[in-house]
């Protein structure tokens, strides 16, 4: 059972498959905005590799969470609890070490279990009780945020060698100059969160594109009723998807702890919509059935290019960032809409 047993088509037709159009659109718009930045602010350092790597670093924790969110959206669901679960993770890790003296390794594993458990619980409620995902995960979000506040109402900063070491683990990039390896200037470092982000994107791609589970996910998103009639394990898959998303949120929380080195009950407030909009900008349809990890990655990158441009400009206020993000979102869904209606017309 593999994709390769399909009838071989020419490379061009396979690449130009309309189902990838959205991903291409995302990539192209990213490139256009990047090119604009490069032309406008190239002299002040927009084109350096460090700026590019920073696109990943800025929103790495959103990206990690977006991996799970993409899967949830492909099944046709939605998860509003990701930011709260990430914040809860940060709180568990920080409180566990600073107030109870538990090693971060144990609290990290524990918080991953919490994330998986909460995700599976919500998935079960969605599947077996038929409660809309929106409401279920909203309740889950309230619960996670409330527990967070019950643990502590103030920010707990933490200081542990392991966290410092993890946060300090960075890969410095070198390049070859006259047969000698020299550090790229300005010094470019890839830190732990970016590594997790990229690993998760790759893992997500493999899971979605090359496993039976991934095909089940797409099938459920395409049409849940027919997936059920085909004998696919709908309930199990849906619960697993929400559990994976819970795991991703916990991982995103850990990445966030590595960045801010503290736990706060109101951390990442509103982050769930950042994550969802990244996935949507990346071409995932909220109706389910369509979506790619690569697109999601570019969606996350797009979300950090715009603030970067506003930063380089220096005169625009950060409020314009919000408006620009909204405008971008509008642009994308209109493109999405056009692509979908185009393919529908073509099919007819």
């Amino acid at each position: 059972m593999s994709v390769r047993t399909e009838k071989r088509q020419s490379l061009l037709t396979r690449i130009m498959n309309p189902k990838y159009m959205m991903v291409y659109a995302t990539v192209i718009i990213f490139l256009i905005i990047y090119a604009y930045g490069a032309i406008r602010y190239g002299k002040s350092g927009f084109t350096t590799l460090r700026t590019f790597v920073n696109f990943f670093t800025d929103n790495a924790y959103y990206g990690i969470s977006a991996v799970g969110m993409t899967m949830v959206l492909i099944t046709g669901g939605i998860d509003l609890s990701v930011a709260s679960v990430a914040s809860l993770t940060g709180m568990i890790v920080a409180y566990g070490y600073e107030r109870m003296g538990i090693s971060p390794v144990i609290t990290m594993l524990f918080s991953m279990l919490v994330g998986i458990g909460l995700g599976a619980l919500m998935g079960a409620a969605i599947h077996y009780l038929n409660v809309p995902p929106f409401i279920t995960t909203l309740t889950g979000s309230f619960l996670a945020r409330g527990i967070c506040s019950l643990i502590s109402r103030e920010s707990i900063s933490m200081n542990h060698p392991l966290i410092d070491q993890l946060a300090g683990t960075k890969i410095t990039l070198y390049h070859l100059v006259d047969g000698e390896w020299v550090k790229i200037k300005p010094i470019t470092k890839i830190d732990m969160t970016v590594i997790i982000f990229i690993v998760m994107i790759i893992a997500g791609t493999i899971l979605l594109q090359h496993t039976r589970f991934g095909r089940n996910v797409y099938a459920i998103g395409g049409n849940e009723a027919s997936a059920k009639l085909m004998g696919l394990p709908v309930g199990r898959t849906k619960i697993a998807v929400y559990a994976i998303n819970g795991f991703c949120s916990a991982l995103a929380g850990i990445a966030y702890v590595l960045v801010v080195k503290s736990g706060w009950n109101m951390a990442l407030l509103g982050g769930e919509l950042e994550v969802i909009s990244s996935a949507v900008i990346g071409g995932t349809l909220l109706t389910g059935g369509v979506g790619y990890m690569v697109g999601t990655m570019f969606g996350v990158l797009l979300k950090s290019v715009i603030p970067a441009i506003i930063n380089f400009n220096g005169t625009l206020s950060s409020w314009w960032g919000k408006i620009a993000t909204g405008g971008l979102l509008l642009l994308f869904i209109v493109i999405q809409r056009l692509v979908v209606s185009y393919t529908e017309r073509k099919r007819k």
Partner: protein
């Protein structure tokens, strides 16, 4: 028999209401006597601190005398400590108060003794105490019974126990009553209502709950129909911020002044304009949402996400990131004033709820919305202009968010682009769902949404009232909502309906 039940409900309600009013009047009588005899208003807080905390007659006598003689009833709470002088605002009142306190209670009683002239005996104290507790229970219960009787008479429907138990609203009402009963058990005077002559307004926890739920109820009216169409509107919170920002900007804007702003106690533009522009802008933003969803067929969640994200940015740009404050009194009236002895937001809410209900149920509009929500295509084929319906519903939601934003900013007398309307979208959606409207679209219940929004506010009040940290409200909200939603979930209700049916069958079998 069934006709009689309506009448029984109505008469019982009227009797209970009358008993509640009698209790209310007896407390008011005491307060009036204080006012007539000593020229001092005796406030709610003072009443509680004097009559509810101490059971000993001597203590009540001393506290009462001190509270009345100190000039302001409010300072009685601090005055009970005895040693420190109450921070009275008027100088003569203060000297009197210190005089009353340096002497002992019997001496004060001998000197003029408000306690002996107004209260008279300790049995009066205990009867006042009971009246204070009972009026809070009698008034709402009586009102509810009367309302239930009236609704039954007006609807002319027969009472069918099974259909009532199957209705989602019933469960919402039961949940609300259970929470209130828990409140009542913990604080026996939780329901008490009192009248504040200085503001011409009734005070009490129940009134406060309804007052504070006004914003969500108003938005919920629109949100109910949005959800009945099968969508959600995430932008309402941002529209609340936009409306507040615009109102405050216009109120403070003065082009003739070198600072471009007024000191805050008058407006250059007519007040009607100050109110109309934010509402118009919110209406247009709602129309924008409706266009995206109706014309471009975008998904409501993502289409409204655009304004949710950029709306707060727009609000910031309108005010240039500033936080204006105002002291303009007509504007204060919207959120803090009183109308018909009730806080104005309650009256506004009632007007809007009744207006929307009439519009939706007395015209075919509600049926159209339900039809589009169930199947947009087939309703289009049967001649309903589903685009126009979607446009109207989203524009209405925008307008209602604007009204809610005016109320919110009038409460804080300022604009706050970051926190105004924060999480209103989730609260509104939750109140709709708790009220029994299904997220999948179709049938909707506006009355259910009102109850849902009151439930949410009750939970919050409950949490504040009993000193639970405010941030932990969310955990309680989540638990209670989880219970309500699980009870309302279709499989659970089907299971329960089957169980009751089986029982009925078993009973019938036994009887045969």
């Amino acid at each position: 028999m069934k006709k009689k039940l309506h009448l029984i409900l109505l008469i019982a309600g009227a009797l209970v209401l009358a008993a509640g009013l009698y209790c209310f009047a007896s407390i008011c009588g005491m307060k009036d006597a204080v006012y007539a005899g000593y020229g001092v208003s005796f406030s709610d807080a003072a009443f509680q601190s004097v009559f509810m905390n101490d059971h000993d007659e001597a203590a009540v006598r001393a506290d009462f005398n001190a509270a009345v003689l100190s000039g302001t009833g409010d300072s009685a709470a601090e005055g009970t400590d005895g040693t420190e002088a109450p921070d009275g605002t008027e100088a003569p009142a203060e000297t009197e108060a210190t005089g009353a306190e340096t002497e002992t209670a019997p001496a004060a009683a001998a000197a003029g003794a408000p306690y002996d002239t107004v209260i008279g005996s300790f049995s009066r104290v205990s009867s006042l105490r009971t009246a204070w507790r009972l009026q809070g229970i009698f008034l709402p219960v009586g009102a509810l019974l009367c309302l239930a009787g009236l609704v039954l008479i007006l609807r002319g429907k027969h009472l069918d126990f099974a259909s009532i138990m199957r209705s989602k609203i019933t469960w919402a009402v039961i949940a609300e009553i259970l929470i209130l009963i828990v409140c009542l058990i913990i604080r026996p005077d939780f329901f008490s209502i009192s009248y504040q002559p200085s503001n011409h307004m009734l005070y009490g926890n129940l009134i406060d709950i309804i007052n504070r739920s006004a914003e969500i109820t108003i938005i919920g009216m629109g949100m109910t129909m949005v959800i009945a169409l099968g969508g959600t509107d995430l932008s309402v919170g941002a529209l609340v911020a936009v409306s507040g920002a615009l109102a405050l900007k216009l109120m403070r804007w003065d082009p003739t002044n070198p600072l471009y702003q007024t000191p805050g106690d008058y407006t250059v533009y007519p007040f009607i304009l100050v109110l109309a522009v934010p509402l118009l802008v919110c209406l247009l933003m709602g129309l924008f949402n409706g266009m995206l969803i109706g014309r471009l067929k975008l998904q409501p969640i993502i289409a409204t996400l655009i304004l949710m994200v950029s709306g707060r940015g727009i609000a910031q740009i309108v005010t240039n990131g500033k936080q204006y404050t105002t002291m303009y009194s007509p504007f204060r009236w919207i959120g803090q004033g009183s109308c018909l002895y009730l806080p104005t937001p309650i009256v506004i809410t009632v007007v809007i709820v009744v207006g929307v209900m009439l519009f939706v149920r007395k015209t075919a509009f509600g049926t159209f919305v339900e039809s589009v929500g169930i199947n947009a295509n087939s309703s289009r084929l049967s001649g309903i202009n589903s685009r126009a319906i979607i446009l109207i519903v989203f524009a209405l939601t925008g307008l209602l968010s604007g009204i809610s934003g005016l109320i919110y900013s009038s409460r804080i007398m300022s604009n706050d682009s970051n926190n105004a309307g924060l999480n209103y979208e989730t609260d509104a959606i939750l109140s709709v769902v708790i009220g029994g409207t299904s997220m999948t679209g179709g049938k909707f219940s506006l009355a259910g949404t009102v109850i849902g929004s009151i439930i949410i506010r009750t939970i919050v009040t409950f949490v504040y009232f009993f000193g639970i940290p405010a941030d932990a409200t969310m955990a309680f909200k989540a638990l209670i909502i989880a219970v309500v939603i699980v009870l309302q979930a279709e499989p659970v209700r089907v299971w329960m309906a089957k169980r009751t049916e089986r029982r009925a069958l078993a009973k019938g079998g036994a009887m045969k």
